[in-house]
């Protein structure tokens, strides 16, 4: 059944031509993400999880099957979907507040309203004091928070996260994971997170989608009990982590959670 905020992915496939050969990056992907749900996708490198995200956001327009949002087939980017990439991708010549305001360039809101939204979203990610700074003056974690503010400032229905904390140190990553969980919950956004960090997937996700490579396909979908993800040190957390890791299959090296204990 199609709800009015549901993201429906129906038998989606994607092929690339690499040096004259056709490589099947994704095959037979079926996934439905309910409004307000947080879905984590884990898989080894090359399993097509980032490709799937690029399809959903609209950067790749050419694919088999259907991706529906609010019952409509997606074709190209629109402002109801936002993405945070692994690199912050801030514009180095724009100040922090101008970078966040990029998200509102297409908005028809009055200028005062836009300024207020930018300020609110900088406060949301805890960077209100750094509005006038340039990206090069920020640490990696701060830059990634600006990128999150830029993605959220439009109030998108769906937030896509492509290994957003992969390039950060363990402490910053743990801190930002908690921040992200708080923000997504408070804004009631639907989120799809791609990661190869199993702990991160459990900590943030309502469900975990395990993908296998060549061709990229869904191997299993595991629900996460809210009580389990509360405590990273609990036995239930460790057990779920083992389940996900074994679901990923041996022979596909995946970091078993890179967070230092």
């Amino acid at each position: 059944m199609t709800d009015h905020g549901t993201l429906e992915i129906r038998s989606v496939g994607k092929r690339f031509d690499v040096a004259g050969q056709t490589v099947e990056a994704l095959s037979g992907i079926d996934l439905s993400v309910a409004p307000g749900e947080f879905v984590s996708i884990v898989g080894a490198s090359g399993c097509g999880k980032s490709t799937l995200l690029r399809l959903i956001v609209g950067l790749e327009r050419d694919y088999d099957g259907e991706i529906l949002l609010k019952g409509r087939r997606l074709a190209g980017p629109t402002l109801d979907r936002a993405i945070v990439f692994q690199e912050h991708r801030l514009f180095p010549w724009l100040r922090v507040e101008e970078n966040v305001a990029l998200g509102l360039l297409k908005s028809t809101l009055p200028a005062a309203e836009k300024r207020k939204l930018v300020r609110e979203h900088l406060e949301l990610v805890g960077l209100g004091a750094f509005a006038k700074a340039y990206p090069a003056q920020l640490s990696g974690g701060m830059s990634q928070r600006v990128a999150i503010a830029r993605a959220l400032v439009n109030r998108p229905d769906i937030l896509l996260l492509d290994e957003p904390f992969g390039a950060l140190d363990a402490l910053t990553r743990a801190y930002l994971q908690a921040e992200l969980r708080r923000i997504v919950r408070s804004e009631g956004i639907t989120a799809v997170l791609v990661t190869h960090d199993v702990e991160e997937a459990i900590f943030l996700g309502d469900r975990i989608v395990v993908m296998h490579p060549r061709p990229g396909r869904i191997a299993s979908i595991l629900p996460v009990d809210p009580a389990t993800r509360q405590d990273r040190t609990s036995a239930a957390f460790a057990h779920l982590r083992e389940t996900v890791l074994s679901g990923l299959g041996t022979g596909h090296p995946v970091s078993p959670g890179r967070l230092a204990a």
């Binding site: 609209g58 980017p77 629109t78 936002a82 297409k106 805890g126 640490s139 402490l171």
Partner: protein, 268 residues
Amino acid sequence: MSAVTVIPSVRGTDAAAMPLRRRWNGLILPAALILLWEGASQSGLVDARLLPSLGAVAARGWSELAEGRLALDIASSLGRDLAGFAIGSVFGILAGLALGLSRTLDRYVGPTFNAVKQIAVFAWIPLISVWFGVGEAAKVAFIALAAFTPVVVNTWAGARSVPRDLGEVADVLTLSRWQRLIRLEIPSALPSIFVGLQLGLIYSWLATVGAEYFMTVGPGIGGLMTEGREHFHMDVVILGVLLLGGIGLGLNRLAGLLETSVLRWKRF
């Protein structure tokens, strides 16, 4: 909270940050040359008519200034230099952006431009003289052409290498063509554009002297030097050389200052 640290701005290349002693190192060679020059002309080893003393050049400069001729010459040269540079760089930036941002133009016009730019700029003088006459317009056109080439080449290179990653951000945010140009493509190409403008400034100043030398005689530093040579007034010629060097240096300093203030974000 390790996520909150601000890296202080570092301006290592700033002259003000350099130790005083090292800042003067660059002046040793010019000072030695002046001493050598002054020594040679004072000692009588060199004919003072061929190499007048520093004092003679300064006196000539002062008298030319008092007559009001020198100011007119400098103003004429600077005026046509800046007019030509402005025209050449405006067209250069527009052409460079068009070539760098349109794959079609790059394919169809790029190779021709790359061939034409191999022609030495002075080779255009006969053609420009015929097309623009012998007056001021021809000189300005020649100077503009000299500035145009380096500005196009560098703007083109800058516009072509807008980071793909940031282009995807613009795609996702569904920026319009115009928003993309203003927020992404021009700022991204700006450091390259400034390299082009700096070169254009040097080329156009050279072309100013060239135009005054090889085209019709009129007011200007080149005219002053031509006249000095014809009357065998070496002090006038040397005065012209010093003025050309000094003004060229000054123009480039100004361009450098403008660049650091526009590209503030690069300083961090």
